[in-house]
């Protein structure tokens, strides 16, 4: 755990999280604490369970064992007679308001303009007055460098622009935590930088972030901790300087040499 955040309150607490898809166990007991203001980057080969894990944090995936708390609220489940049962849709939706998520394929609403994408949930979920939501929405789009694109539809935007709108859309709910699921993997190389810049800015402002990514440069520069997942387990959890220079686990070393050879 990075020293500067060791006294901060925990935003995410995952304990013994297990998940299976049919016969295949994808998460085999994940323990993780993320404190306020921390940026945690999760790396690992495809199939290691990293995407599944962050999708469990906002209950887009159910879990079979263990528990996940965000801001002290148990996510997706409620305790009844000492057992965990799935919570009501309404309560789960309320918990998700605290957790922003950015997807690999952006998932913008194609029938709405950039601004409409951003104000949709604040107006209809948070019940914020329309004028106020529009004001905040414009400010957010300006912050991600898209002040001129408020009235553009997603199909009129480049991939990088779409992803920045998606980040603004998630921020509009004022989340306590942001999850990024391979946010640059679907982008052309020349657009990766503009999205990473927005994420770096967000990190500097103190947003708590969990980022699944293959961007080693981003991890090295911005992360407080880098986590290596392998076969449904966390095998390495270290500050970037140690993670990249002196990994404790052989899997990490093997992974790094593969990735670094591929992207020098």
């Amino acid at each position: 755990m990075s020293d500067e955040h060791s006294a901060s309150p925990a935003i995410v607490t995952a304990r013994g999280v297990e998940k299976r898809f049919g016969e295949l166990q994808v998460l085999k007991g994940i323990d993780l604490t993320v404190r306020k203001g921390e940026v945690v980057v999760i790396v690992g080969a495809s199939g290691s369970g990293k995407t599944t894990f962050i999708r469990c944090i906002n209950h887009l995936e159910t879990i079979e064992k263990g528990r996940i708390e965000v801001n002290g609220h148990l996510i997706g489940y409620r305790e009844r007679n000492g057992r965990l049962v799935e919570d009501s849709e309404r309560n789960i939706a309320r918990q998700r308001c605290e957790i922003g998520m950015v997807f690999q394929l952006f998932n913008l609403f194609p029938h709405l303009t950039a601004l409409e994408n951003v104000i949709e949930a604040p107006i209809h979920v948070r019940k914020i007055p329309r004028e106020e939501a529009i004001r905040t929405g414009r400010a957010l789009l300006a912050r991600v460098g898209l002040a001129e694109k408020t009235n553009a539809y997603p199909s009129q935007l480049s991939g990088g622009q779409q992803q920045r709108v998606a980040i603004a859309r998630a921020l509009a709910m004022r989340p306590a935590l942001m999850l990024f699921d391979e946010p640059t993997s679907a982008l052309d190389p020349e657009m990766i930088g503009e999205v990473l810049d927005v994420m770096k800015e967000l990190a500097r402002e103190g947003m708590t972030m969990i980022v699944v990514s293959h961007e080693m440069g981003f991890a090295r520069e911005v992360a407080n901790r880098v986590i290596m997942m392998h076969d449904g387990r966390i095998v390495e959890d270290a500050p970037p300087e140690r993670f990249f220079t002196a990994p404790a686990h052989e899997r990490t070393a093997a992974f790094l040499s593969r990735v670094i050879n591929k992207h020098p």
Binding site: E89, L105, F109, P110, H111, E120, A186
Partner: protein, 259 residues
């Protein structure tokens, strides 16, 4: 050949009151039954796609039964059959300014129930065509099912639903002729009433065919406008890209295809 042009033109261009009333009934019954059938079809589609079996199974049975039996059988069954078995007898309803006759109620009901089964499948296909990521993004923003269905999924499903919906209404305009068997004086029965007096079957059936052709043609223009409106989330860029049908086929709104 025994064909009187004057008769044909006379009835085509100066229709009698019986004809005009028949035309009005055909149109109004079609609109009402299509509207109610679409609404009902939406709820059946949602039930059919539900993860709860108590909703899913009845919806499946409903669709199976109503698509698997002839509309004519359903019409007679609902109006005559239910009454004969003393289960339900339709009675005229008097609204003061107008009366809704029993057979018309039964007819509208039958057309609605039948249409709902077809619309359920069309709407289901429309909802299924919307990318799963849309639901996930909605959920991640704290939206609940009724909210994201209404605001996010259905507006996108409309793109896929509107073209077959237009075809359904075209069919509905013609299916109203079946109500003639239970005595609803729509366009076909109106024609039959006139032919039974004049014996000019050839001319008059040609006239009624022209009427239906006019209705369906006019509807074709409306349908084109509807498709233009619902087919494109934004009209500006669409011209530069692949034709609508192709994009619909490929799935819209995903980054790869939209460069």
């Amino acid at each position: 050949m025994n064909f009187e042009w004057s008769f044909f033109w006379g009835y085509l261009l100066r229709p009698s009151a019986v004809y005009l009333n028949g035309l009005w009934l055909t149109l109004s019954i079609s609109v009402i039954a299509q509207g109610l059938g679409t609404l009902m079809g939406l709820f059946i589609a949602l039930a059919r796609m539900s993860r709860f079996r108590v909703l899913q199974v009845p919806a499946r049975i409903y669709i199976w039964a109503f698509r698997g039996t002839p509309l004519l059988v359903q019409i007679v069954f609902i109006y005559t059959g239910l009454a004969a078995a003393d289960i339900y007898r339709f009675e005229d309803i008097n609204f003061g300014f107008a009366t809704l006759p029993a057979n018309m109620q039964a007819g509208i009901l039958a057309l609605t129930l039948n249409e709902a089964a077809y619309m359920a499948e069309i709407i289901r296909a429309g909802i299924a065509s919307v990318n799963k990521g849309q639901t996930e993004a909605s959920k991640s923003l704290g939206m609940t099912y009724p909210l994201f269905m209404r605001r996010i999924i259905l507006p996108q499903a409309a793109r896929v639903v509107v073209p077959p919906l237009g075809n359904e209404f075209n069919g509905m305009l013609k299916n109203t002729t079946l109500l003639s068997v239970i005595g609803v004086p729509e366009l076909l029965l109106a024609t039959q009433m006139v032919t039974s007096v004049t014996f000019r079957v050839f001319e008059l059936y040609l006239v009624v065919a022209c009427y239906y052709l006019t209705l369906t043609t006019l509807w074709g223009f409306v349908q084109q406008r509807l498709e233009a409106r619902f087919g494109e989330p934004n009209a500006v860029t669409s011209r530069k890209r692949a034709p609508a049908g192709l994009r619909r086929l490929l799935g819209f709104g995903q980054p790869g295809e939209l460069k």
